[in-house]
Protein backbone atom coordinates (compact mmCIF):
# COMPACT_ATOMS: atom_id res chain seq x y z
CA UNK A 1 0.00 0.00 0.00
CA UNK A 2 1.51 3.31 -1.03
CA UNK A 3 1.74 6.09 1.50
CA UNK A 4 0.17 8.74 -0.70
CA UNK A 5 -3.57 8.27 -1.07
CA UNK A 6 -4.63 7.49 -4.63
CA UNK A 7 -8.04 8.91 -4.00
CA UNK A 8 -8.87 12.39 -2.74
CA UNK A 9 -11.24 12.46 0.25
CA UNK A 10 -13.92 14.20 -1.80
CA UNK A 11 -13.69 11.58 -4.53
CA UNK A 12 -13.76 8.80 -1.99
CA UNK A 13 -16.86 10.22 -0.38
CA UNK A 14 -18.51 10.60 -3.76
CA UNK A 15 -17.78 6.99 -4.71
CA UNK A 16 -19.08 5.71 -1.38
CA UNK A 17 -22.26 7.72 -1.68
CA UNK A 18 -22.85 6.61 -5.27
CA UNK A 19 -22.49 2.97 -4.26
CA UNK A 20 -24.75 3.43 -1.27
CA UNK A 21 -27.40 5.20 -3.28
CA UNK A 22 -27.48 2.53 -5.96
CA UNK A 23 -26.99 -0.67 -4.04
CA UNK A 24 -27.50 0.08 -0.34
CA UNK A 25 -24.00 -1.31 0.22
CA UNK A 26 -22.01 0.86 2.60
CA UNK A 27 -18.34 0.95 1.78
CA UNK A 28 -15.83 1.50 4.53
CA UNK A 29 -14.58 4.99 3.83
CA UNK A 30 -11.55 4.40 6.00
CA UNK A 31 -10.22 1.88 3.50
CA UNK A 32 -9.30 4.33 0.78
CA UNK A 33 -6.64 2.06 -0.61
CA UNK A 34 -9.17 -0.74 -1.20
CA UNK A 35 -11.49 1.55 -3.10
CA UNK A 36 -8.61 2.93 -5.14
CA UNK A 37 -7.25 -0.51 -5.97
CA UNK A 38 -10.57 -1.59 -7.41
CA UNK A 39 -10.92 1.54 -9.48
CA UNK A 40 -7.41 1.35 -10.87
CA UNK A 41 -8.12 -1.31 -13.54
CA UNK A 42 -11.14 0.61 -14.73
CA UNK A 43 -9.11 3.80 -14.91
CA UNK A 44 -6.39 2.03 -16.84
CA UNK A 45 -8.78 0.43 -19.25
CA UNK A 46 -10.48 3.71 -19.89
CA UNK A 47 -7.18 5.32 -20.66
CA UNK A 48 -7.29 7.74 -17.75
CA UNK A 49 -4.15 9.21 -16.28
CA UNK A 50 -5.04 8.07 -12.82
CA UNK A 51 -7.92 7.14 -10.57
CA UNK A 52 -8.63 10.78 -9.79
CA UNK A 53 -9.09 11.55 -13.48
CA UNK A 54 -11.34 8.54 -13.83
CA UNK A 55 -13.54 9.54 -10.90
CA UNK A 56 -13.65 13.08 -12.19
CA UNK A 57 -15.04 11.78 -15.47
CA UNK A 58 -17.47 9.51 -13.67
CA UNK A 59 -19.03 12.43 -11.85
CA UNK A 60 -20.53 13.58 -15.12
CA UNK A 61 -20.91 10.17 -16.74
CA UNK A 62 -24.06 8.38 -17.81
CA UNK A 63 -25.72 5.84 -15.53
CA UNK A 64 -24.46 2.99 -17.70
CA UNK A 65 -20.86 4.15 -17.44
CA UNK A 66 -21.24 4.69 -13.73
CA UNK A 67 -22.60 1.24 -13.24
CA UNK A 68 -19.24 -0.26 -14.12
CA UNK A 69 -17.82 1.70 -11.24
CA UNK A 70 -20.53 0.55 -8.89
CA UNK A 71 -20.09 -3.05 -9.97
CA UNK A 72 -16.35 -2.85 -9.43
CA UNK A 73 -16.87 -1.64 -5.90
CA UNK A 74 -19.56 -4.02 -4.81
CA UNK A 75 -19.09 -7.26 -6.56
CA UNK A 76 -16.32 -9.28 -5.11
CA UNK A 77 -18.12 -12.55 -5.44
CA UNK A 78 -20.68 -13.93 -7.73
CA UNK A 79 -24.00 -14.77 -6.18
CA UNK A 80 -27.14 -16.74 -6.77
CA UNK A 81 -29.98 -14.95 -8.53
CA UNK A 82 -27.72 -11.99 -9.00
CA UNK A 83 -29.76 -8.82 -9.32
CA UNK A 84 -32.90 -10.99 -9.06
CA UNK A 85 -34.85 -9.28 -11.85
CA UNK A 86 -33.30 -11.15 -14.80
CA UNK A 87 -34.24 -14.45 -13.19
CA UNK A 88 -37.73 -13.30 -12.34
CA UNK A 89 -38.06 -12.30 -15.97
CA UNK A 90 -36.68 -15.66 -17.07
CA UNK A 91 -39.17 -17.52 -14.93
CA UNK A 92 -42.25 -15.39 -15.57
CA UNK A 93 -41.80 -14.34 -19.15
CA UNK A 94 -38.95 -15.91 -21.09
CA UNK A 95 -39.43 -19.55 -20.16
CA UNK A 96 -43.19 -19.64 -20.73
CA UNK A 97 -42.70 -17.92 -24.08
CA UNK A 98 -39.90 -20.21 -25.17
CA UNK A 99 -41.71 -23.30 -23.93
CA UNK A 100 -44.61 -22.43 -26.18
CA UNK A 101 -42.31 -21.65 -29.09
CA UNK A 102 -40.49 -24.95 -28.67
CA UNK A 103 -43.59 -27.09 -28.29
CA UNK A 104 -42.56 -29.11 -31.33
CA UNK A 105 -38.97 -29.84 -30.39
CA UNK A 106 -39.49 -29.77 -26.60
CA UNK A 107 -35.89 -28.83 -26.20
CA UNK A 108 -34.23 -25.82 -24.64
CA UNK A 109 -30.58 -24.78 -24.44
CA UNK A 110 -29.24 -22.08 -22.18
CA UNK A 111 -25.68 -20.81 -22.05
CA UNK A 112 -24.12 -19.13 -19.04
CA UNK A 113 -21.17 -17.46 -20.71
CA UNK A 114 -19.21 -16.20 -17.71
CA UNK A 115 -20.23 -18.75 -15.14
CA UNK A 116 -17.39 -18.27 -12.65
CA UNK A 117 -17.92 -20.59 -9.67
CA UNK A 118 -21.25 -21.81 -10.96
CA UNK A 119 -23.94 -19.98 -9.05
CA UNK A 120 -25.45 -18.51 -12.21
CA UNK A 121 -25.81 -21.73 -14.24
CA UNK A 122 -27.09 -23.61 -11.21
CA UNK A 123 -29.60 -20.82 -10.63
CA UNK A 124 -30.72 -21.20 -14.23
CA UNK A 125 -30.87 -24.98 -13.90
CA UNK A 126 -33.05 -24.63 -10.80
CA UNK A 127 -35.46 -22.41 -12.65
CA UNK A 128 -35.58 -24.81 -15.58
CA UNK A 129 -36.19 -27.73 -13.24
CA UNK A 130 -38.96 -25.86 -11.46
CA UNK A 131 -40.72 -24.52 -14.54
CA UNK A 132 -44.04 -26.30 -15.01
CA UNK A 133 -44.11 -25.35 -18.70
CA UNK A 134 -40.92 -27.31 -19.27
CA UNK A 135 -42.08 -30.65 -17.97
CA UNK A 136 -41.07 -33.29 -20.42
CA UNK A 137 -38.58 -31.00 -22.12
CA UNK A 138 -35.00 -31.83 -22.74
CA UNK A 139 -33.10 -28.93 -21.25
CA UNK A 140 -29.40 -28.26 -21.30
CA UNK A 141 -27.36 -25.67 -19.48
CA UNK A 142 -23.90 -25.00 -20.87
CA UNK A 143 -21.64 -23.04 -18.55
CA UNK A 144 -18.28 -21.62 -19.53
CA UNK A 145 -15.60 -19.43 -18.07
CA UNK A 146 -11.97 -18.66 -18.72
CA UNK A 147 -10.99 -19.34 -15.12
CA UNK A 148 -10.14 -23.01 -14.60
CA UNK A 149 -10.07 -22.84 -10.83
CA UNK A 150 -13.53 -21.34 -10.77
CA UNK A 151 -14.71 -24.07 -13.14
CA UNK A 152 -13.42 -26.80 -10.84
CA UNK A 153 -15.30 -25.27 -7.96
CA UNK A 154 -18.36 -24.96 -10.13
CA UNK A 155 -18.21 -28.61 -11.17
CA UNK A 156 -18.05 -29.68 -7.54
CA UNK A 157 -21.23 -27.75 -6.90
CA UNK A 158 -20.08 -27.32 -3.31
CA UNK A 159 -20.40 -24.05 -1.47
CA UNK A 160 -19.82 -22.78 2.02
CA UNK A 161 -22.72 -21.81 4.26
CA UNK A 162 -21.79 -18.18 3.70
CA UNK A 163 -21.81 -18.59 -0.07
CA UNK A 164 -25.24 -20.21 -0.15
CA UNK A 165 -26.50 -17.38 2.00
CA UNK A 166 -25.77 -14.90 -0.72
CA UNK A 167 -28.90 -14.47 -2.79
CA UNK A 168 -30.23 -18.01 -2.90
CA UNK A 169 -33.92 -18.25 -2.00
CA UNK A 170 -34.29 -20.63 0.90
CA UNK A 171 -36.86 -22.86 -0.72
CA UNK A 172 -34.44 -23.36 -3.60
CA UNK A 173 -31.71 -24.21 -1.13
CA UNK A 174 -33.90 -26.72 0.62
CA UNK A 175 -34.99 -28.45 -2.57
CA UNK A 176 -31.93 -28.29 -4.78
CA UNK A 177 -29.00 -28.48 -2.38
CA UNK A 178 -28.03 -30.73 0.48
CA UNK A 179 -25.56 -30.49 3.31
CA UNK A 180 -22.15 -31.98 2.75
CA UNK A 181 -20.16 -31.79 5.96
CA UNK A 182 -19.86 -28.16 6.88
CA UNK A 183 -20.82 -27.13 3.35
CA UNK A 184 -23.73 -27.38 0.96
CA UNK A 185 -23.73 -29.16 -2.37
CA UNK A 186 -26.00 -28.99 -5.36
CA UNK A 187 -27.91 -32.25 -5.59
CA UNK A 188 -26.72 -34.80 -8.09
CA UNK A 189 -29.62 -34.45 -10.51
CA UNK A 190 -29.16 -30.73 -10.86
CA UNK A 191 -25.40 -30.96 -11.10
CA UNK A 192 -25.81 -33.37 -13.96
CA UNK A 193 -27.99 -30.83 -15.75
CA UNK A 194 -25.10 -28.36 -16.19
CA UNK A 195 -22.13 -28.92 -18.48
CA UNK A 196 -19.06 -26.89 -17.59
CA UNK A 197 -16.19 -26.12 -19.93
CA UNK A 198 -13.43 -23.62 -20.43
CA UNK A 199 -13.97 -20.85 -22.92
CA UNK A 200 -12.41 -17.49 -23.60
CA UNK A 201 -15.10 -15.21 -24.96
CA UNK A 202 -12.53 -13.11 -26.76
CA UNK A 203 -11.67 -16.08 -28.96
CA UNK A 204 -13.81 -17.92 -31.50
CA UNK A 205 -16.34 -20.24 -29.94
CA UNK A 206 -16.00 -23.96 -30.50
CA UNK A 207 -19.65 -24.41 -29.64
CA UNK A 208 -21.93 -25.27 -32.48
CA UNK A 209 -25.65 -25.12 -32.52
CA UNK A 210 -28.04 -22.56 -31.23
CA UNK A 211 -28.96 -21.43 -27.77
CA UNK A 212 -32.35 -20.19 -26.72
CA UNK A 213 -31.07 -18.00 -23.91
CA UNK A 214 -27.56 -16.68 -23.36
CA UNK A 215 -26.48 -15.11 -20.10
CA UNK A 216 -23.41 -12.95 -20.55
CA UNK A 217 -23.43 -10.87 -17.45
CA UNK A 218 -20.91 -8.45 -16.09
CA UNK A 219 -18.07 -9.61 -18.27
CA UNK A 220 -18.34 -7.39 -21.33
CA UNK A 221 -17.52 -4.42 -19.14
CA UNK A 222 -13.96 -5.71 -18.95
CA UNK A 223 -13.45 -5.70 -22.69
CA UNK A 224 -12.62 -2.76 -24.87
CA UNK A 225 -15.25 -1.68 -27.35
CA UNK A 226 -13.86 -3.55 -30.31
CA UNK A 227 -13.72 -6.83 -28.40
CA UNK A 228 -17.16 -6.20 -26.96
CA UNK A 229 -18.47 -5.80 -30.48
CA UNK A 230 -16.78 -8.97 -31.58
CA UNK A 231 -18.12 -10.98 -28.64
CA UNK A 232 -21.64 -9.70 -29.26
CA UNK A 233 -21.21 -10.68 -32.88
CA UNK A 234 -20.29 -14.21 -31.92
CA UNK A 235 -23.12 -14.45 -29.43
CA UNK A 236 -25.48 -13.30 -32.13
CA UNK A 237 -24.37 -16.17 -34.32
CA UNK A 238 -25.15 -18.85 -31.76
CA UNK A 239 -28.42 -17.44 -30.51
CA UNK A 240 -31.74 -18.60 -31.89
CA UNK A 241 -33.54 -15.82 -33.79
CA UNK A 242 -36.30 -15.84 -31.19
CA UNK A 243 -33.90 -16.30 -28.30
CA UNK A 244 -32.64 -13.67 -25.89
CA UNK A 245 -29.37 -12.37 -24.53
CA UNK A 246 -29.25 -11.36 -20.90
CA UNK A 247 -26.61 -8.88 -19.84
CA UNK A 248 -25.68 -7.58 -16.43
CA UNK A 249 -27.69 -4.87 -14.73
CA UNK A 250 -27.21 -1.59 -16.60
CA UNK A 251 -25.11 -3.21 -19.29
CA UNK A 252 -26.16 -2.36 -22.79
CA UNK A 253 -25.41 -3.13 -26.40
CA UNK A 254 -26.07 0.51 -27.15
CA UNK A 255 -23.10 2.17 -28.73
CA UNK A 256 -21.46 -1.16 -29.40
CA UNK A 257 -23.65 -3.11 -31.75
CA UNK A 258 -26.78 -2.32 -33.69
CA UNK A 259 -27.72 -5.94 -33.95
CA UNK A 260 -29.81 -6.07 -30.82
CA UNK A 261 -33.05 -4.64 -29.56
CA UNK A 262 -33.83 -4.20 -25.93
CA UNK A 263 -36.78 -6.20 -24.73
CA UNK A 264 -39.33 -4.14 -22.86
CA UNK A 265 -41.31 -5.34 -19.93
CA UNK A 266 -38.38 -5.88 -17.64
CA UNK A 267 -35.86 -3.78 -15.82
CA UNK A 268 -33.35 -6.46 -16.69
CA UNK A 269 -30.97 -5.95 -19.60
CA UNK A 270 -32.56 -8.43 -21.99
CA UNK A 271 -31.94 -8.18 -25.74
CA UNK A 272 -33.35 -9.82 -28.84
CA UNK A 273 -31.11 -10.40 -31.83
CA UNK A 274 -32.04 -8.43 -34.89
CA UNK A 275 -31.63 -10.08 -38.26
CA UNK A 276 -29.52 -8.68 -41.08
CA UNK A 277 -27.42 -6.33 -39.03
CA UNK A 278 -23.66 -5.97 -39.15
CA UNK A 279 -23.43 -2.26 -39.67
CA UNK A 280 -24.70 0.70 -37.79
CA UNK A 281 -28.09 1.52 -39.22
CA UNK A 282 -28.30 5.10 -40.22
CA UNK A 283 -24.69 5.84 -39.44
CA UNK A 284 -22.91 8.09 -41.91
CA UNK A 285 -20.30 6.32 -44.00
CA UNK A 286 -16.95 7.12 -42.44
CA UNK A 287 -14.00 8.33 -44.42
CA UNK A 288 -11.89 5.42 -43.27
CA UNK A 289 -14.08 2.84 -41.62
CA UNK A 290 -11.25 0.85 -40.20
CA UNK A 291 -9.35 3.88 -39.02
CA UNK A 292 -10.03 3.50 -35.34
CA UNK A 293 -9.11 -0.14 -35.32
CA UNK A 294 -6.07 0.35 -37.51
CA UNK A 295 -4.83 3.17 -35.36
CA UNK A 296 -5.01 0.83 -32.38
CA UNK A 297 -2.65 -1.51 -34.15
CA UNK A 298 -4.98 -4.39 -34.68
CA UNK A 299 -4.89 -6.14 -38.05
CA UNK A 300 -8.61 -5.78 -38.42
CA UNK A 301 -9.86 -6.54 -41.89
CA UNK A 302 -12.08 -3.49 -42.25
CA UNK A 303 -14.25 -3.33 -45.32
CA UNK A 304 -13.93 -0.42 -47.72
CA UNK A 305 -16.04 2.63 -47.08
CA UNK A 306 -19.73 2.24 -47.63
CA UNK A 307 -19.80 -1.51 -47.90
CA UNK A 308 -22.50 -3.30 -46.02
CA UNK A 309 -23.72 -6.83 -45.87
CA UNK A 310 -26.30 -8.01 -48.29
CA UNK A 311 -29.12 -7.63 -45.80
CA UNK A 312 -30.64 -4.20 -45.35
CA UNK A 313 -29.78 -2.14 -42.36
CA UNK A 314 -31.65 -3.51 -39.42
CA UNK A 315 -35.08 -2.06 -39.05
CA UNK A 316 -37.02 -2.61 -35.90
CA UNK A 317 -38.71 -5.94 -36.42
CA UNK A 318 -42.41 -5.26 -36.79
CA UNK A 319 -43.33 -8.57 -35.24
CA UNK A 320 -41.73 -7.62 -31.95
CA UNK A 321 -43.92 -5.16 -30.16
CA UNK A 322 -41.90 -2.84 -28.08
CA UNK A 323 -38.57 -3.50 -29.74
CA UNK A 324 -36.75 -0.26 -30.21
CA UNK A 325 -34.68 0.48 -33.26
CA UNK A 326 -31.06 0.77 -32.39
CA UNK A 327 -29.78 4.31 -32.09
CA UNK A 328 -27.22 5.77 -34.42
CA UNK A 329 -23.83 4.30 -33.68
CA UNK A 330 -20.29 5.45 -33.98
CA UNK A 331 -19.02 4.88 -37.48
CA UNK A 332 -16.82 1.82 -37.17
CA UNK A 333 -17.82 -1.06 -39.38
CA UNK A 334 -17.63 -4.52 -37.86
CA UNK A 335 -17.36 -6.97 -40.70
CA UNK A 336 -18.81 -10.39 -40.29
CA UNK A 337 -15.64 -12.39 -40.17
CA UNK A 338 -16.23 -16.13 -39.97
CA UNK A 339 -14.62 -17.54 -36.89
CA UNK A 340 -12.09 -19.68 -38.74
CA UNK A 341 -10.71 -16.70 -40.58
CA UNK A 342 -10.57 -14.27 -37.71
CA UNK A 343 -7.95 -11.65 -38.36
CA UNK A 344 -7.39 -10.99 -34.71
CA UNK A 345 -4.10 -12.05 -33.25
CA UNK A 346 -4.36 -14.25 -30.18
CA UNK A 347 -4.98 -12.01 -27.24
CA UNK A 348 -3.43 -12.50 -23.86
CA UNK A 349 -5.77 -14.16 -21.40
CA UNK A 350 -8.78 -11.94 -21.02
CA UNK A 351 -10.21 -11.92 -17.56
CA UNK A 352 -13.87 -12.72 -17.23
CA UNK A 353 -13.83 -11.33 -13.75
CA UNK A 354 -11.39 -8.98 -12.20
CA UNK A 355 -7.92 -7.97 -13.07
CA UNK A 356 -7.54 -6.24 -9.77
CA UNK A 357 -4.65 -7.47 -7.69
CA UNK A 358 -5.56 -10.79 -6.11
CA UNK A 359 -6.93 -10.43 -2.62
CA UNK A 360 -4.95 -11.90 0.18
CA UNK A 361 -6.66 -15.20 0.81
CA UNK A 362 -6.73 -16.30 4.36
CA UNK A 363 -6.35 -20.00 4.09
CA UNK A 364 -6.61 -21.58 7.49
CA UNK A 365 -3.39 -23.29 8.44
CA UNK A 366 -3.54 -27.00 7.89
CA UNK A 367 -3.77 -28.10 11.48
CA UNK A 368 -3.67 -31.74 12.39
CA UNK A 369 -6.72 -32.84 14.34
CA UNK A 370 -6.04 -32.47 18.01
CA UNK A 371 -7.28 -35.30 20.13
CA UNK A 372 -4.84 -34.73 22.91
CA UNK A 373 -3.21 -31.52 23.73
CA UNK A 374 0.42 -30.89 23.02
CA UNK A 375 1.19 -27.27 23.66
CA UNK A 376 3.17 -25.51 20.97
CA UNK A 377 5.18 -23.70 23.59
CA UNK A 378 6.16 -24.60 27.13
CA UNK A 379 3.62 -23.35 29.63
CA UNK A 380 4.34 -19.89 30.94
CA UNK A 381 3.41 -18.36 34.28
CA UNK A 382 0.24 -16.32 33.97
CA UNK A 383 1.04 -12.80 32.88
CA UNK A 384 -0.32 -9.82 34.77
CA UNK A 385 -3.08 -8.10 32.83
CA UNK A 386 -1.61 -5.21 30.84
CA UNK A 387 -1.97 -1.76 32.36
CA UNK A 388 -5.10 -0.04 31.18
CA UNK A 389 -6.94 -3.22 30.29
CA UNK A 390 -10.56 -2.33 29.87
CA UNK A 391 -11.99 -5.41 31.43
CA UNK A 392 -11.92 -5.29 35.19
CA UNK A 393 -9.81 -8.08 36.62
CA UNK A 394 -11.28 -10.37 39.24
CA UNK A 395 -9.30 -10.48 42.47
CA UNK A 396 -6.68 -13.22 42.43
CA UNK A 397 -7.77 -16.43 43.99
CA UNK A 398 -11.35 -16.01 42.91
CA UNK A 399 -11.37 -19.69 42.12
CA UNK A 400 -13.17 -21.47 39.33
CA UNK A 401 -15.68 -19.72 37.13
CA UNK A 402 -18.61 -18.43 39.04
CA UNK A 403 -22.09 -19.55 38.08
CA UNK A 404 -22.87 -18.20 34.64
CA UNK A 405 -24.45 -14.79 34.58
CA UNK A 406 -27.79 -14.69 32.81
CA UNK A 407 -27.43 -13.90 29.15
CA UNK A 408 -30.33 -11.53 28.95
CA UNK A 409 -29.32 -8.17 27.67
CA UNK A 410 -29.67 -4.87 29.47
CA UNK A 411 -29.14 -1.34 28.21
CA UNK A 412 -29.29 -0.41 24.57
CA UNK A 413 -25.84 -0.07 23.09
CA UNK A 414 -24.75 2.74 20.83
CA UNK A 415 -25.30 2.16 17.12
CA UNK A 416 -22.61 0.55 15.06
CA UNK A 417 -20.23 3.09 13.62
CA UNK A 418 -20.22 2.60 9.90
CA UNK A 419 -19.43 6.01 8.52
CA UNK A 420 -23.13 6.64 7.95
CA UNK A 421 -25.08 9.61 9.14
CA UNK A 422 -27.62 8.79 11.79
CA UNK A 423 -31.02 7.86 10.52
CA UNK A 424 -33.40 10.78 10.85
CA UNK A 425 -36.22 8.50 11.87
CA UNK A 426 -36.87 8.13 15.56
CA UNK A 427 -35.72 4.96 17.24
CA UNK A 428 -38.62 3.14 18.74
CA UNK A 429 -38.05 2.59 22.40
CA UNK A 430 -37.71 -1.03 23.31
CA UNK A 431 -39.66 -2.50 26.16
CA UNK A 432 -38.13 -4.27 29.10
CA UNK A 433 -36.39 -3.18 32.22
CA UNK A 434 -33.36 -1.00 32.01
CA UNK A 435 -30.33 -2.50 33.64
CA UNK A 436 -27.54 0.00 33.87
CA UNK A 437 -24.61 -2.35 33.93
CA UNK A 438 -23.18 -1.41 30.59
CA UNK A 439 -20.17 0.80 31.02
CA UNK A 440 -20.68 2.57 27.72
CA UNK A 441 -21.96 6.17 27.73
CA UNK A 442 -24.95 5.91 25.43
CA UNK A 443 -25.68 9.58 25.71
CA UNK A 444 -22.67 10.33 23.57
CA UNK A 445 -24.32 8.74 20.55
CA UNK A 446 -26.45 10.90 18.26
CA UNK A 447 -29.39 8.61 17.79
CA UNK A 448 -29.31 6.43 20.84
CA UNK A 449 -32.95 7.49 21.25
CA UNK A 450 -35.11 5.85 23.91
CA UNK A 451 -33.94 5.59 27.43
CA UNK A 452 -33.37 2.18 28.87
Amino acid sequence: MSAAPALAPGDLAWVCELVRAETAVVLDASKEYLVASRLLPLARRGGFRDVAAYVSRMRTASPAERWELVEAMTTNETSWFRDVEPFTHLRDSLLPGLAAARAATRSLRVWSAACSTGQEPYTIAMLLADAPQLRGFRTEVVATDVDRTALERARSGTYSAMEVGRGLPTDMLARHLERAGLQWRVRDGLRAAVRFSELNLARPFPERGRFDVIFCRNVLIYFDTATKRQVLERLHQVLAPDGVLVLGAAETTLGVSGAWARVDGSRAAVYRPLSGHATAPGAPAPARPGAAAAAAGRPWGAPPAGRTTSAPSAPASPSRPGARPAAALPPVAAPRVPASRSALPPRPAVPTRWDVPPRPTTTPARVAPVTSWSPARPPRPPAAPPAGAQLAATPPGAGPARPPAPRRVPAEPAPRAGGRPASPRPVTQRPGSARPDSARPDSARPDSGGSR
Binding site: P63, D83, T170, A249, R267, R407, P415, S423, P431, G432
Partner: protein, 138 residues
Protein backbone atom coordinates in the same frame (compact mmCIF):
# COMPACT_ATOMS: atom_id res chain seq x y z
CA UNK B 1 -39.57 0.44 5.57
CA UNK B 2 -39.68 -1.07 9.02
CA UNK B 3 -37.82 -4.09 10.29
CA UNK B 4 -38.18 -6.04 13.51
CA UNK B 5 -34.98 -7.64 14.80
CA UNK B 6 -35.41 -10.44 17.32
CA UNK B 7 -32.27 -11.89 18.89
CA UNK B 8 -31.20 -12.41 22.47
CA UNK B 9 -27.70 -11.30 21.57
CA UNK B 10 -27.34 -7.57 22.02
CA UNK B 11 -24.28 -7.65 19.75
CA UNK B 12 -26.17 -9.35 16.96
CA UNK B 13 -29.11 -6.96 17.24
CA UNK B 14 -26.68 -4.09 16.98
CA UNK B 15 -25.00 -5.53 13.91
CA UNK B 16 -28.26 -6.27 12.10
CA UNK B 17 -29.67 -2.91 13.11
CA UNK B 18 -26.65 -1.19 11.61
CA UNK B 19 -27.01 -2.97 8.30
CA UNK B 20 -30.74 -2.34 8.08
CA UNK B 21 -30.44 1.32 9.05
CA UNK B 22 -27.73 1.71 6.45
CA UNK B 23 -30.31 0.48 3.97
CA UNK B 24 -32.72 3.15 5.14
CA UNK B 25 -34.93 1.03 7.34
CA UNK B 26 -36.37 1.87 10.71
CA UNK B 27 -35.58 -0.88 13.20
CA UNK B 28 -37.61 -2.28 16.09
CA UNK B 29 -35.93 -4.73 18.45
CA UNK B 30 -36.74 -7.50 20.88
CA UNK B 31 -34.70 -9.98 22.89
CA UNK B 32 -36.99 -12.99 22.64
CA UNK B 33 -40.15 -14.17 20.94
CA UNK B 34 -42.54 -12.96 23.62
CA UNK B 35 -40.93 -9.52 23.69
CA UNK B 36 -41.23 -9.44 19.90
CA UNK B 37 -44.97 -9.98 20.11
CA UNK B 38 -45.24 -7.22 22.70
CA UNK B 39 -43.21 -4.82 20.56
CA UNK B 40 -45.30 -5.66 17.53
CA UNK B 41 -48.57 -5.15 19.32
CA UNK B 42 -47.41 -1.84 20.69
CA UNK B 43 -46.24 -0.71 17.27
CA UNK B 44 -49.52 -1.75 15.69
CA UNK B 45 -51.45 0.14 18.33
CA UNK B 46 -49.29 3.27 18.15
CA UNK B 47 -48.51 3.46 14.45
CA UNK B 48 -51.08 1.24 12.82
CA UNK B 49 -48.38 -0.16 10.57
CA UNK B 50 -47.11 -3.69 10.07
CA UNK B 51 -43.34 -4.04 9.79
CA UNK B 52 -42.12 -5.16 6.39
CA UNK B 53 -39.74 -7.82 7.66
CA UNK B 54 -38.79 -9.60 10.86
CA UNK B 55 -35.27 -10.99 11.30
CA UNK B 56 -35.58 -13.77 13.85
CA UNK B 57 -32.93 -15.73 15.72
CA UNK B 58 -33.75 -19.34 16.57
CA UNK B 59 -32.42 -20.00 20.06
CA UNK B 60 -33.81 -17.48 22.52
CA UNK B 61 -35.20 -17.71 26.05
CA UNK B 62 -38.92 -17.53 26.87
CA UNK B 63 -40.07 -18.10 23.28
CA UNK B 64 -37.70 -19.26 20.57
CA UNK B 65 -37.66 -18.24 16.94
CA UNK B 66 -39.59 -21.20 15.59
CA UNK B 67 -42.36 -20.65 18.13
CA UNK B 68 -42.41 -16.97 17.21
CA UNK B 69 -42.72 -17.72 13.49
CA UNK B 70 -45.59 -20.10 14.22
CA UNK B 71 -47.32 -17.48 16.36
CA UNK B 72 -46.86 -14.75 13.78
CA UNK B 73 -48.20 -16.81 10.92
CA UNK B 74 -51.42 -17.36 12.81
CA UNK B 75 -52.17 -13.65 12.76
CA UNK B 76 -53.92 -12.54 9.60
CA UNK B 77 -53.10 -8.87 10.05
CA UNK B 78 -49.37 -9.70 9.90
CA UNK B 79 -49.48 -11.61 6.62
CA UNK B 80 -47.62 -8.87 4.83
CA UNK B 81 -44.61 -9.15 7.12
CA UNK B 82 -41.79 -11.21 5.67
CA UNK B 83 -40.27 -13.62 8.18
CA UNK B 84 -36.56 -14.33 7.90
CA UNK B 85 -34.71 -16.64 10.25
CA UNK B 86 -31.22 -15.36 11.05
CA UNK B 87 -29.50 -18.10 12.97
CA UNK B 88 -26.49 -20.31 13.36
CA UNK B 89 -28.73 -23.36 13.31
CA UNK B 90 -27.99 -24.64 9.86
CA UNK B 91 -29.09 -28.22 9.50
CA UNK B 92 -31.14 -29.09 6.48
CA UNK B 93 -33.95 -30.42 8.66
CA UNK B 94 -34.09 -27.14 10.51
CA UNK B 95 -34.32 -25.09 7.35
CA UNK B 96 -37.18 -27.30 6.23
CA UNK B 97 -38.83 -27.01 9.63
CA UNK B 98 -38.65 -23.22 9.56
CA UNK B 99 -40.07 -23.04 6.05
CA UNK B 100 -42.85 -25.40 7.08
CA UNK B 101 -43.64 -23.19 10.06
CA UNK B 102 -44.05 -20.26 7.69
CA UNK B 103 -40.68 -18.55 7.48
CA UNK B 104 -40.04 -17.01 4.07
CA UNK B 105 -36.28 -16.86 4.21
CA UNK B 106 -33.42 -18.29 6.22
CA UNK B 107 -29.99 -16.70 6.63
CA UNK B 108 -27.11 -18.59 8.22
CA UNK B 109 -24.79 -16.96 10.73
CA UNK B 110 -22.12 -15.88 10.09
CA UNK B 111 -23.30 -13.72 7.22
CA UNK B 112 -21.83 -10.76 5.43
CA UNK B 113 -23.80 -7.50 5.30
CA UNK B 114 -24.17 -8.04 1.55
CA UNK B 115 -25.84 -11.39 2.13
CA UNK B 116 -28.45 -9.88 4.44
CA UNK B 117 -29.11 -7.14 1.89
CA UNK B 118 -29.37 -9.75 -0.87
CA UNK B 119 -32.06 -11.55 1.15
CA UNK B 120 -33.97 -8.29 1.48
CA UNK B 121 -33.67 -7.90 -2.28
CA UNK B 122 -35.13 -11.38 -2.77
CA UNK B 123 -38.01 -10.39 -0.54
CA UNK B 124 -38.59 -7.34 -2.69
CA UNK B 125 -37.76 -4.94 0.10
CA UNK B 126 -34.73 -3.32 -1.43
CA UNK B 127 -34.35 -1.60 -4.78
CA UNK B 128 -32.56 -3.65 -7.37
CA UNK B 129 -29.72 -2.21 -9.39
CA UNK B 130 -30.84 0.38 -11.88
CA UNK B 131 -30.64 -0.50 -15.54
CA UNK B 132 -29.36 1.48 -18.48
CA UNK B 133 -32.82 1.51 -19.98
CA UNK B 134 -34.11 4.17 -17.66
CA UNK B 135 -33.58 3.58 -14.00
CA UNK B 136 -34.00 6.18 -11.36
CA UNK B 137 -30.51 7.58 -11.60
CA UNK B 138 -29.85 11.08 -10.42
Amino acid sequence: MIALVVDDSRAMRRIVRGILRGAGMEVLEAGDGQEALDVLDRHLADEGAVPDVACIDWNMPVMDGLQLVTALRRRRELRSMALMMVTSESEQSQVVKALAAGAHEYLFKPFSPDALLAKLQLLGLLPQPATAGGGSWS
